[in-house]
């Protein structure tokens, strides 16, 4: 499974920015487990890059290698052309935000934030100024005298961010910084964090396994699977043109149907039906998968519809209704339609329904097996 680099989308925003950080051939094994497998990664200055992947795919290990907390077995790391591979973590001046924040329990909030400054022997005036600047930036001005155990999770997260930024790091590394928070606060802090990092202008690499978070935050999403990068693209690119079945099902909802490319560019699905009007550049005879996302599936009355299905279940999702279908093509498809449209159809579980599929939107993914 090769790395799919959709250069076209990438250049839209970042072609002009010079490469800031470059990992070349980064690899790490823990005994029998290959945590990171010869990864190449380039990050341009000021970018917000999200490393996305399932649990255990090596995101944290890659991030910790960049930070210098894990020594890579292979490969090198350069920053602005300077080789940092053998530079110890303490000398890299990267900020790191840990999953459980790792605030020093014996220090107050102010002393936590000022820790990188104290280590560097910053003068008292500058220290005070910087702490209050960061406290204002992260909205924790009234908490400075408290100890970490006297803070809520969200507040601790802000302090951790302030501390990571204190020494004006050249790179900010965040390892699932929001995963310890409950859903509502997570949403709010996600937005705040995004704005703050933008305002500071620091280059950031952000690890998460939450695809929604990745789509919202990233300039670029780097999708990892079993220690490798499987796609490196804009959020739109990853969603609309997933490089593999794995990416398609991991980012957003999709039903995958295996098939073979026919002579006319149509795809014959395993079930026997043929889909036409698909957009792809695969040669005939090639095995592939078609990803059908719910929003590409339209429902209408059965008469005159191209395909038919049975409604298996309906799930009320608030603004819209999610409908689980049996068929067509022997697949378990999902459709999403707004409540008015659902009411207008006047259907319920067990009814037959007509199905529209916007073929030109469907994603055709080459199967790696052939």
């Amino acid at each position: 499974m090769g790395v799919d680099r959709r250069a076209g989308a990438d250049t839209l925003r970042m072609s002009s920015a010079p490469v800031h950080l470059r990992c070349a051939g980064f690899g790490k094994r823990f005994g029998d487990v290959t945590a990171v497998d010869r990864v190449d990664l380039e990050v341009t200055r000021g970018a917000f890059v999200v490393l996305l992947g399932a649990s255990g795919c090596g995101k944290t290990t890659l991030l910790r290698m960049i930070a210098g907390l894990v020594e890579p077995d292979t490969g090198s790391l350069t920053l602005d052309g300077m080789d940092l591979t053998r530079v110890p973590a303490a000398a890299r001046n990267f900020g790191f935000v840990f999953q459980a924040y790792a605030l020093f329990p014996t220090k107050t909030v102010a002393d936590n934030i000022a820790f990188p400054l104290d280590i560097r022997g910053t003068g008292a005036d500058e220290r005070r100024a910087r702490v209050s600047e960061l406290a204002e930036l992260t909205q924790i001005g009234d908490l400075l005298r408290r100890f970490p155990h006297e803070l809520s999770g969200g507040q601790q997260q802000r302090v951790a961010l302030a501390r990571a930024l204190a020494a004006r790091p050249s790179l900010l590394l965040l390892d699932e910084p929001l995963s310890a928070l409950d859903a509502r606060i997570r949403l709010r802090l996600r937005k705040e964090l995004h704005d703050l990092v933008r305002r500071v202008g620091v280059t950031a690499i952000y690890v998460t396994h939450d695809q929604e978070e990745a789509l919202e935050l990233a300039d670029r999403i780097v999708v990892m699977d079993r220690g490798r990068i499987v796609q490196d693209d804009t959020p739109e690119g990853v969603y609309l043109r997933p490089a593999s079945r794995h990416v398609a099902s991991f980012v957003g909802r999709a039903t995958l149907a295996g098939g073979i490319v026919g002579a006319s560019g149509s795809v014959r699905l395993a079930h026997g039906d043929e889909l036409t009007g698909l957009r792809h550049d695969l040669s005939p005879g090639r095995a592939c998968a078609v990803a059908i996302r719910p929003e590409f599936v339209g429902l209408r009355s059965p008469a005159g519809a191209p395909y038919a299905a049975t409604i298996v279940r309906r799930m009320f999702m608030g603004p819209h209704m999610r409908v689980l279908l049996d068929g067509p093509f022997g697949l378990a498809l999902e459709a999403e339609l707004d409540l008015k449209r659902w009411a207008a159809l006047g259907l319920d579980v067990g009814d037959r329904v007509g199905v529209d599929i916007a073929s030109q939107d469907l994603v055709v993914i080459a199967d790696p097996t052939t």
């Binding site: 907390l69 840990f98 590394l173």
Partner: protein, 691 residues
């Protein structure tokens, strides 16, 4: 939970056990410490003597009194007659400190002046007065099991008791006791500081620097945990004592550099060395545990914030370990303060308070003073504990549940090598000390005749050809391994019973939840904080003649040893069992109950299997303690029931090195084998259950 009659019976049983065998002895020591002695007036002394003599059979009593009076020495006769006269209100012209011939003449004159019947009356009282003045010790010795030990002690000394803080005041005033107390403080401070530092360095080497051979170093450093008493001090003597292999054999005899009689390990340095090695296991376990639970991400956060190795140590590792360091220090401090074994063996010329207490109990039997001294030993430790509680806010050091290893914090190579060297030297020293004791067990006469022998194990004198030793005949009945057999009997009785009682206690307190359970739980854990010396003295005090009934006396029996060891270590099984119960929700039992199981079936089929590990741990701990403890049982052994650990102590203090070493070696072998078997049994059971 619904409580049936069976449950209440269990509650009563547990409460009685804990009250009688833990609370009562400790309380007795506390009370006794306030029993301040007052010199009895002579008339009170005579009355008290008469009361005491009531415990002697009637005819026997008269015979002994008149015998004593007839055999009284001249000075005693004069003393007795003058006292009898004065008590009867007759004035005698001579005073007690006049010359005896002067006194004699004055007494005769006073007697002559009396009317005959009055004189006969006074003379009839002479045997009793004589006994009250001169034979109290003899009388008391015969009443050992009939009268409370503290009453007997007071009687011996001619004192009565009032409640007050006189005993505590005396420790401060009495020059000898004050010096001993200050010595103990200096010793405890030194030993605790050194052992805390060493334990931290070792724990850091193993947890953070991940030195090679960490597991081996840890195992060897923990070895003193299962060692017979005073083994380390004993081994130090064998190497550096007056007949030590190094001081005498090498430096004195071979190289002629020093005189081993003056250049040796006896004294402060020797005690500190013995205590540091002996106290390493508990200090190490506490600190190792804390370092293992410390969130590694903290150190990594410091590193990515730019901190050097020293910065991380100063800002993160040490502050985070501070509560554990304090705890380790306090534990070592208290154990050092209450240790009398090591000071008695290698501390000659350096008296400490614990040793004075031992002398008080064994020698003068001044219970109240000894009790007060015991509790004074705890004072500084208690103060340190309260201080630490104030300083360290528990919440601040709670790692929560998620703890990562600090792989990103790399210990510099130089420091890693230094730590490795420290670990290896510690392990090497401990190993050598143990091996030296084993070697001396097979040696004819350490320091003098280094030929191989099994005599020490067989109980025959190894040095028969040397007539001076052969004829001394000192304590030959204690030479062989028969005391190890007694120890084994006590251990084999106490361990399974204790393991079971611990589980019953946990089940009763945490599941039946009777009223007053928190008080009972508190009592059950008391022996964990009260050092053995107090527990032993308490037993001696309470069970000498409970309620004044000699028929109930336990002292001198095997039972008192079993009970003392059992209840003194019950807390281990209780803590382990409680841990298990807390992890398994009470819901399991409710589920069993809804399936129709009775209370007993619940306990038998649900609770007991869960607690298997706790039982094994509790029993094992009691077993090891029975084989190795000294501080509490030394006051409770008797000629018939002599424990090996106590003999090792007295033989190492004397110069019966071979015999002490043979017992130590045997105990070590037994304990290590038992631990190994327990480990295997546990593994086998585990595998059986999970197949």
């Amino acid at each position: 939970m619904r409580r049936g009659a069976g449950a209440w019976l269990l509650v009563a049983f547990v409460a009685a056990g804990l009250g009688l065998f833990i609370a009562a002895p400790i309380l007795a020591v506390l009370v006794a410490s306030f029993e301040t002695p007052r010199r009895l007036e002579r008339n009170e002394l005579v009355t008290l003597t008469a009361t005491m003599l009531e415990h002697v059979q009637e005819g026997d009593r008269e015979r002994r009194l008149s015998g004593w009076w007839q055999r009284a020495r001249p000075n005693e006769r004069i003393d007795t007659r003058r006292t009898a006269l004065e008590l009867a209100g007759v004035s005698v012209t001579a005073r007690a400190d006049d010359r005896y011939d002067v006194q004699a003449r004055a007494v005769d004159a006073a007697m002559d002046r009396l009317a005959p019947e009055r004189r006969a009356e006074i003379e009839a009282r002479l045997p009793l007065v004589n006994a009250a003045l001169h034979k109290r010790v003899l009388i008391a010795d015969g009443l050992d099991h009939a009268v409370r030990a503290s009453d007997l002690a007071a009687f011996r000394l001619g004192q009565s008791t009032t409640m007050g803080i006189g005993n505590y005041a005396r420790i401060l005033k009495d020059e000898r006791l004050r010096v001993a107390a200050l010595n103990a403080l200096a010793l405890a401070t030194t030993s605790a500081t050194l052992v805390t530092a060493l334990a931290f360095a070792l724990a850091y080497a193993i947890q953070r620097a991940r030195v090679p051979g960490a597991q081996a170093i840890r195992t060897v450093a923990l070895l003193p945990l299962v060692s017979p008493p005073v083994l380390v001090a004993f081994a130090l003597l064998l190497l550096f004592g007056r007949q030590g292999l190094v001081t005498f054999g090498l430096l004195d005899q071979t190289l002629g550099l020093v005189d081993a009689n003056s250049f040796n390990i006896y004294g402060f340095g020797g005690i500190v060395a013995a205590q540091v090695i002996g106290l390493l296991p508990p200090a190490y376990v506490v600190i190792d545990n804390a370092l293992a639970r410390q969130d590694g991400a903290l150190e990594e956060a410091a590193v990515s914030g730019g901190a050097s190795f020293a910065d991380v140590l100063r800002h993160v590792t040490l502050p985070m370990a501070a509560p554990a360091l304090a705890r380790a220090f306090i534990i070592a401090f208290v154990l050092s303060m209450t240790d009398f074994g090591n000071p008695e063996v290698v501390g000659q010329g350096y008296p400490v308070l614990a040793g004075e207490i031992y002398d008080m109990i064994i020698g003068t039997r001044e219970f109240p003073l000894a009790a007060a001294a015991c509790l004074s030993l705890l004072g500084p430790g208690l103060a340190l504990y309260l201080l630490a509680e104030r300083i360290f806010d528990r919440r601040r050091y709670d790692p929560g549940q998620r703890v990562a290893a600090a792989t990103g914090h790399v210990v510099p190579a130089g420091i890693r090598h230094a730590l490795l060297a420290l670990g290896i030297s510690t392990a090497a020293i401990v190993t050598i000390l143990f091996l030296v004791v084993v070697a001396s067990a097979f040696t004819v006469y350490w320091g003098v005749d280094h030929r191989f022998t099994l005599a020490h194990f067989l109980g025959v004198r190894a040095d028969l050809q040397d007539q001076t030793f052969a004829q001394s005949g000192f304590g030959t009945r204690y030479l062989g391994l028969s005391s190890v057999w007694t120890s084994l009997q006590v251990a084999a009785l106490a361990a399974p019973i204790g393991g079971f009682v611990a589980l019953l206690t946990v089940y009763t307190l945490d599941r039946l939840r009777p009223p007053g359970r928190s008080a009972l739980g508190f009592v059950a854990l008391l022996p964990a904080v009260f050092p053995g010396i107090i527990f032993g003295i308490g037993y001696l005090h309470v069970f000498n003649a409970p309620l004044g009934l000699s028929a109930l006396a336990l002292t001198g029996s095997l039972a008192i040893l079993v009970l003392n060891i059992l209840f003194g270590n019950l807390f281990v099984g209780i803590l382990a069992g409680r841990g298990v119960l807390q992890k398994t929700a009470a819901g399991i039992e409710d589920a069993a109950a809804t399936l129709g199981a009775s209370e007993w079936q619940c306990f038998r089929h649900v609770v007991l299997p869960l607690m298997r590990q706790a039982f094994l741990l509790g029993a094992l701990f009691i077993f090891i303690d029975a084989m190795t403890t000294l501080s509490s049982v030394i006051f409770l052994v008797s000629g018939e029931h002599m424990l090996a650990s106590v003999l090792i102590f007295s033989q190492a203090t004397g110069v019966e090195y071979g015999s002490a070493a043979a017992k130590s070696t045997t105990i070590l072998a037994v304990v290590l084998a038992t631990v190994a078997v327990a480990f295997l049994v546990e593994r086998r059971l585990n595998r059986m259950l999970h197949q």
